[in-house]
Every structure is written in structure tokens, then in C-alpha cells.
Amino acid sequence: MNDGAPPDLQALGITKRFGPLTALKDVNFRLQPGQFHALLGENGAGKSTLVKCIMGYYHPDEGQISLDQQQVTIGSPRDAQAFGIGMVYQQFTLIPNMTVLENLVISKAKLTPVINWQKEEHQLTQFMEKMPFKVSLTARVSSLAAGEKQKVEILKQLALQNRILILDEPTSVLTPQEADEMLGHLRAMTLGRQLSVLIITHKLREVAAFADDVTVLRKGRFVGSGKVSELKITQMAEMMVGSEVTAKPKQRNDRLSKVPKLVLQDIRVKNDIGVEVVRGVHLTIHEGEIVGVAGVSGNGQHELVEVLAGQRQATAGAIRVDDQPFQPTREKIRRHKVFCLPEEPLQNTCVGRMTVAENLAFRNFDVEPHAVGGWLMSRPALCRSARGLIERYNINPPYPEIPIQSLSGGNVQRAVLARELSADVEILIIANPCFGLDFLAMEEIRLQIVAARNRGTAVLLVSEDLDEILELSDRTVVMFNGRLVYETTSPGVDLAVIGRHMTGHAA
């Protein structure tokens, strides 16, 4: 890294329009040298647009960007890199089949025709020694945990000598410990004035613990900024949402019964490359109970949900529903009323180019009244049912005849939830239901889940968001390395204990 403080980044009066839509309206923002600055706002508030204007992906329609009081034009991410601005994206941009070393080398602006691996390794080892965290250079990226990958992304930016680091929700895939560790290191580097950090996040806890300053956007406009030390968390949340925050504790009725609904016995599953990733899961879920499965992604949760949804076969073990063996066939799903809301529902349970009405009818298009006599589809009936669901679940825009892929992520989620909850549901399997949703959509979907529980549904909730699990579950289990390693009932949970189990560090 070269010496001297990072440049003073200012964005003045930025306006960005996409056709008739104004994504940003006259937004001001300043990142001072050595600052740790949080950019807060709901989905669609314009955070990503602002950052992409700074990175040169978009060109603002009005306003200017300056570095050290000099106006600059950033035409592309390459330009941003030349000015020492680097970004770590929400999704990993590393190449999984290559080693850390290869990934770091390929990102360099200039490559020699023949690569001297010894020299590159030597230089990067030296660079790594000056860094607060280390990653093995020879490791294949696909073998790294999410936290490690995130570190490599950051190291990649630092190795390029970037002095301003922009991070887009960097902790969404990390455990609390990993997140705290990583943010702590970045904090230390900003205190040493080696680096300025701009972090986009929803997590107010992290803002309060690590950031110096905060800027809040809402609906494309600047609503406020200030020192974190002078603001309360509730004030920040209010700025984000606009009105008073609606994160009320969900109304729960007392547990209805002790009747086991869904029983998993010694479930074992292999993943796509033949490695056993679910290694003997035992779990019982009762009527009217939400069981939350916490864990860092990649510990077998994904494959477990696929088995329950019928998208993958278990290699061993038994699923029992109502004390009868269960295979996820259409007939058994209907008889036992087992429904599923998997992660990324647009890819996993929708056909993007089919209409909202058709997608909403996937569970019941082949029965009356949608299929007359069990075989003749009735479009008017499909649309009638769809309109009812669209209204009840607030799906927007409210047209049954448009392709479902034209809906936003939150609305696709609502549509799938509407479909899965539309009939009587006795068992509901949910994975990461709120990933990428804004605050209000999140609240709504969580209310629906608790409402289903209160009606007596047994719910299995798999989530990477620990806060979500703790808010919703009656009982929490931790999945690590293919097994359930810890169980606790929700009142009186110790976050640190759960975090240790999530990373396998509980002796």
C-alpha cells in the first residue's frame, strides 16, 4: 500500500433517472479520509444506484463527484480503480474453481504474458503479512467458507492498492463472529487512516458498533446523516422507514399441542459432487411450532430443504408425516398438506415466463374449479382465484396475466407464500424467506409465517439470518457440517453460544 491518507470523496447533488423513474434525487454524500461510513436505507432507496454512480457503472444525470476537491469523471469501474476506489459486491465475484493466488493475480490490471507464479506468490505473501487477516494462497476458493471468501474479496481490493473500499451488505452471509471480526479489522485500518470505508447495510447493530458516520436514503432522496455516536438506533430506523418502526413482537398463542407432525430420522444426503453434506439429521416438529435451523450457508441446509421439497433424493433415512412414511410426490403432498417456500423462489418454484395466475395455481391447477372434470383448464377460474390471492397477499402490481418474472423480489416471495398458504397447510418448509427484501415486505412475510403457526401449522424455518430465526422460532437448532449440533428454546438464547456452534467451535 502506498502512504498518505485516502482521498476525500464527495458526491454533490447527484440525480439519476431511469426513464420516467427517478432513482436518485439531488443526493449529497461525503466520505472523509479514514472514515467508516454506513449508508442506510431500504431496498429501492437508491443506495446501490448511488454507489454505482461513484463506481462508474452509471453516469449521473446531474451532480458531480470530486476527489480531494477536484472534480473527476468516473466513466467505468476501471476508472474508479485507477482513482483507488474498489468495491466488494454482495455476491462473490471470485472464481470458485481457482486458487486464491490465481484469483488475486487475475484481478491485476496488467498481466505479464508468462506468469511467474513463484514471484507472484512471494509478493502476495509479503503483502499478506501486512494485512490484519490471512487466507491461504494455495486454497481453492470453492473450499473456503463464506467468511473466508469475503476476506479474499477484501484482500483483492487492498492488493490493488485501493484506498476507498465500498462494501455492499458484506455481512449477509457471515456468522456474527465472522462479521464482527471482519468489520473490526476494517475499523482498525480506518483508524490508522490507511483506508476509508463505505458500507451498505440493513443491520443497525453493526452500524452502531463499527461506523463513525451514517447517511440515510429513502425513496431516492437524502433524508439525513450524522455521527453514529449522537444517534439512537431507533432514530436511524425511523429515518430509514419514514414512520415509526413496525417491528412489533408477533402475536403468538400458546402452543396448542405436543402432537408430532414432521419427523426426520437419520436423513443423509449427498450434494452435486457426491459428498455427503447432510450426515444424519434427526428432528421432530410439532403442531403449531416453528423450529428454526440456524447455520452458516453450506452446512447442508440447502440440500436438506431440497430433500423435503422433493428436488433431491436422500441417500438414507426416513421422513415421517403424521406417523406415516412420506415421499414428496404430488399425491402425498396434497394428502398431508406439506408446503414449501424455498430460497430464491423465482428460480426454485416459479416458471418466470408464465403468468402470475398460472404460477399461483401450480398446486391446484389440476383440480376443480381450475380443471373442469379434472382435465379441461378454465382460465376464468384461474384468474378469479389469482385475483383473490393477489388482493389478500398484497401482490403488486395486481395483474394476474403478467409474467411472474416481471415482479420484484418481494412480490415474487409474496406470490409464492400466497400459493403455499392458500390451502390448508399442516407443514410448511421455509428457507431464507426474507433474503433481499425491504423492511416492510419482511415484516409482512414474517407475520404470515407466525399466523400460519398460530393456526396450527408445523413450520421448519431454515435461515442464514440469525435475527430472523430468533424472532420467529419457538425452538432453535444449529446445523453445522451436516448435523444438528445444538438445540435451545427461544427465550433466553445466548447469541455467543449459538455463534460458536455455527462455526463448530463449541468444545
Binding site: P77, T93, I95, N97, P113, V114, I115
Partner: protein, 305 residues
């Protein structure tokens, strides 16, 4: 009888090299193309076109090596055409590959009609068996020069993919087009160049067929070797050096029938001749499972996405 079995073994080993050489070139070409994230099924057509071009140029110029070069260039042109077509939006590389396969063979038959009869100069071979006086061994150790070139190409390709900026770029493009674009790499251009280079190698493989073994130009020359190369590359896990061993294995399997015939076992001759095809089928069935993805497969390949 004891000596007879030794004879079969030696004949199979010799045959592995003799029949495996075109497999080697085509699979190396396919390997490079697939590393960049595209499948070129058109290599079957490229092989036939290379055989025709090599034979024609060798006949007219009197130099078989000039024929090999021209065969490579013809293959390169077909490869470039394939990848140029694939760089348009929503064009599927498999469909284009099938079209290119038919186009390549059709064009070769059309242009190659006058060359079915005359005899062109042959590629030289190197006599490594001069020290021995066993005739079978002598015959088996007649190593063709192109096979040695193929070994050098396999080593060079391995080194290039690992140690050069170009090789690294090809791999990045094959693993993730998005990541490549984020790094500012010209994805389509890299793929066009890789496919053209792959076509060059396949064209050379074709020239071997017409200029060394079976050493004639006819329409039934390639008998599906260009398509089998796709299975070979999967079996070789996209590693050039493994392509070498796998090509020898396939060549040896193809040589089994004729070798057994030479010791008087003629029963089931056609079954033995079908062994390479049966092995190809077996590889495709064993490696393709809905529950697993392959180790080492470039992520951008359309068949695996």
C-alpha cells in the same frame, strides 16, 4: 499360442498410437474450446474437412507437411465460424455445432470428389524398432511423426493453461463469464480465439486420417471420432495430459478387433470394432448423473448449466 497373445498385446499398443493420434488432436482441440466455456460439436465436420484439405494440398504441392498446415487452417476457419455464430445473443453452441458438423462434412465431400482416386504423398514415420528383429514389434514401433507433435502440444497446452496470462484468461472466461466481464476481459473474443485454435488442432487430426492412417480420402473416413472427442474430454476431466492417455486408451480399444483378427480370432469382429463406441456410451452414462456435477468441469459449459 503364447507368442500369439504377446503379438496381440504389441499390436494393440501399436494400434493405440496409430488409431489414437487423431483422437489426441481432436480431444486437445475440444479441451481448449471447452476450457473457454463452449462446446464445439462441429469438430466432426472439421475433422473431415481437415482430411480433405490435407490430402488435396499434399497431392498438389507434393509436401504432406504443407497439407497438415492447410488442414489446420481449414479447421481454424470452421472453428472461427462456429464461435462467431455463437457470440450472437441466444444462439446455442450445441445446435450451431450440429449445423457445423453437417456443413463441414458436406463441404468436404463436395470439394473432395476429385481426390478419391489419386494417391498423395504420405506423412513420414520414425522407425524406433530398428534394434529389434521381431516383425510385430518392428511394426508397432513405427511411430508416426504427428503423434510426437501431439505429445508436445499436450505438454505445451498444459503449461499454457497454467502459466500464461492467455491461459488464465481462457479459464476465467470458461468458469464465469460474469467474473470475466467484471475483470474487463473480452469474453466473446477469447472464446472465438480458443475455438479457432481448437479447430486448428482438430483439422490437423483430420489430416492424419488422410495422410497417414488409413491414408486415403473417402467419405466414411472419420466415423464419429470428432463426436467421441467430446466424451474423451469429459473422461479426461478437461486436462490436456489426461487427453493423451485417454486417446491412447480409445485407440487401443479400436485396435483390439484387427489385432485379434491377426491371430486368427475372427468371431465377434464387429463387436470388437464397436468397442470405442460402447466405451463412449459407458462414459457418458457413468459421468452423467442428475445428482452430481462433474469435478473440473468449466462452469460456463451449456450442458452443465
Amino acid at each position: 499360442m503364447e507368442a500369439g497373445w504377446w503379438g496381440v498385446l504389441i499390436a494393440v499398443l501399436g494400434g493405440a498410437i496409430r488409431i489414437g493420434t487423431p483422437f489426441l488432436f481432436v480431444s486437445l482441440g475440444e479441451c481448449l474450446t471447452e476450457k473457454s466455456g463452449r462446446i464445439n460439436l462441429g469438430l466432426e465436420g472439421t475433422l473431415v474437412m481437415g482430411a480433405m484439405a490435407g490430402y488435396a494440398v499434399s497431392l498438389h504441392s507434393g509436401s504432406p507437411w504443407l497439407g497438415v498446415l492447410c488442414a489446420g487452417l481449414a479447421g481454424m476457419a470452421l472453428g472461427a465460424l462456429h464461435s462467431w455464430l455463437c457470440s450472437f445473443q441466444r444462439v446455442n453452441d450445441i445446435a450451431v455445432g450440429i449445423a457445423m458438423m453437417l456443413f463441414g462434412t458436406g463441404l468436404a465431400f463436395f470439394l473432395g470428389k476429385p481426390y478419391i482416386q489419386p494417391s498423395a504423398p504420405r506423412l513420414p514415420s520414425i522407425d524406433l524398432g530398428a534394434w529389434s528383429d521381431i516383425p510385430q514389434l518392428k511394426a508397432a514401433l513405427q511411430i508416426n511423426a504427428l503423434f510426437l507433435v501431439g505429445i508436445v502440444v499436450a505438454i505445451a497446452l498444459t503449461w499454457m493453461l497454467k502459466n500464461t496470462a492467455w491461459g488464465l484468461k481462457v479459464r476465467v472466461v470458461g468458469e464465469s463469464a460474469d467474473a470475466a466481464r467484471a475483470l474487463g476481459l473480452p469474453v466473446d473474443r477469447i472464446r472465438i480465439m480458443s475455438t479457432a485454435q481448437g479447430g486448428f488442432l482438430a483439422g490437423i487430426g483430420g489430416s492424419y486420417l488422410s495422410l497417414y492412417y488409413p491414408f486415403n480420402w473417402s467419405e466414411g473416413l472419420s466415423s464419429g471420432q470428432g463426436l467421441m472427442a467430446v466424451a474423451l474430454v469429459i473422461f479426461a476431466r478437461w486436462q490436456p495430459m489426461a487427453c493423451l492417455w485417454v486417446s491412447l486408451l480409445w485407440g487401443g480399444a479400436a485396435a483390439l478387433g484387427p489385432s485379434l483378427q491377426s491371430v486368427g480370432i475372427t468371431g465377434g469382429y464387429y463387436i470388437f470394432n464397436a468397442i470405442p463406441y460402447i466405451m463412449t456410451l459407458a462414459v457418458m452414462i457413468i459421468t452423467c448423473s442428475p445428482r452430481r456435477t462433474l469435478v473440473g468441469v468449466p462452469h460456463e459449459l451449456t450442458v452443465t448449466r
